[in-house]
Amino acid sequence: MSDPYREGLDRLSRIRGVRGALIVDGAAGVPVIADVSPDVPVPALAALAASLYRRTERSARDAGLGQVRALQLVAEHGHILMAQGKDVMVVALAEPTAQLGLVRLEVRKLAEAVR
């Protein structure tokens, strides 16, 4: 039987410049599945990403900006892209030279697809 989470992460990880990706239970802030390098502390990253997304959603709603569709952190050596689906959120780590347009698309597609 196929695993939609694993398939989705595999698709993301195949994009040039993607360093890793994880699917996070958005409400609990815990990782569901991850494919990142061993030096990334997955539980901490999952918790902080979920917390950041929830806080941003709350602030955006309070400010009258409506629902958050996607969130992208820009760092010195890359990007963190996030999108929230119905129950889970998808987080991808990408290098500065990654195909960011494609990564954004896949992150959003995966967030909408997985339940």
Binding site: S51, V74, I80
Partner: protein, 276 residues
């Protein structure tokens, strides 16, 4: 340079391409370099020249405005803005820019001819309206008619980001302090469009953004793009706990947002430095 587009040598490389007639490559190098080094005066000046040579005077003017915000006495930017303002028939603004260019390089023939032209047109205009005030007083009058005054130190903080206003997706930009209070800039939009509300977003999410980034191997946090139903909001750290917030229409291209954010950061840096 190919490995590090933020390298200080990007201007020299772009200039070399420009001289070879490879303008598109020069433009791309400049744009990428300025993403990494948004306060590089020579980079903005070269980008202005590339836009000018491509016939895009509006974008060239935007870049000169940024140059002047970083380097208020820049000769090339004053000369370029002076001729642009002549085209726009903003003669008082043209006069001011060309006089400042002349002060930097008194012998420049183009500037001298531009000044003669502007003075002749101003004299004709005064004659036409029967104005008797001495020419000198008129020349020193405030530039109220200037539609695109450069964002140099001393400008009204609410107009700091004027150079970005002509870009369609741009709704506004702000400098916000750690308490979410707006120091400069403004937003145009719907009912949500007020600095206080956006300040709330900034102050409440930045700490989490910094912490989330610190748990990866991607280095220090440099900014955040939030795409919502009503707008796309980009936040970036400035200095001294200040943030630059750029707001664009929902669905604005992310690449455009990141470039516009870099330009907003350059304007904001110059503004803050002028006051520190």
């Amino acid at each position: 340079m190919a490995r590090d587009p933020g390298s200080a040598s990007f201007v020299a490389l772009a200039e070399a391409y420009r001289r070879q007639g490879r303008r598109e490559e020069a433009l791309q190098i400049c744009l990428r370099g300025l993403e990494k080094r948004p306060t590089d005066v020579a980079g903005h000046a070269l980008l202005a020249r590339l836009y000018l040579e491509a016939g895009d005077r509006v974008r060239a003017c935007d870049e000169w405005a940024i140059v002047l915000s970083l380097d208020p006495d820049n000769f090339e930017a004053h000369r370029g803005m002076g001729f642009y303002q002549i085209e726009q028939r903003n003669l008082e603004a043209a006069l001011e820019h060309l006089r400042r260019a002349e002060a930097q390089r008194p012998g420049d023939r183009a500037v001298r001819e531009g000044l003669s032209l502007v003075r002749a047109r101003l004299a004709k205009r005064r004659e036409h309206v029967g104005q008797r005030a001495p020419q000198r007083a008129a020349e020193e009058a405030p530039q109220r008619s200037a539609q695109r005054a450069p964002a140099r130190p001393g400008i009204d903080p609410a107009r700091l980001f004027e150079p970005l206003r002509e870009e369609t997706p741009f709704l506004g930009a702000l400098i916000v302090d750690a308490q979410g209070l707006v120091l400069a800039g403004g937003i145009e939009g719907g009912e949500w469009a007020n600095g206080e509300a956006l300040g709330a977003i900034v102050s409440s999410v930045v700490e989490d953004a910094v912490r989330a980034t610190s748990h990866t191997t991607l280095g220090a946090w440099r900014g955040m793009l939030v795409e919502t139903e009503q707008a796309a909001v980009h936040l970036a750290p400035l200095r001294d706990d200040l943030m630059v917030v750029l707001v664009a229409m929902p669905g604005a291209p992310p690449g455009w947002i990141l470039r516009a954010a870099a330009r907003a950061a350059a304007l904001a840096s110059a503004f803050v430095e002028a006051r520190s």
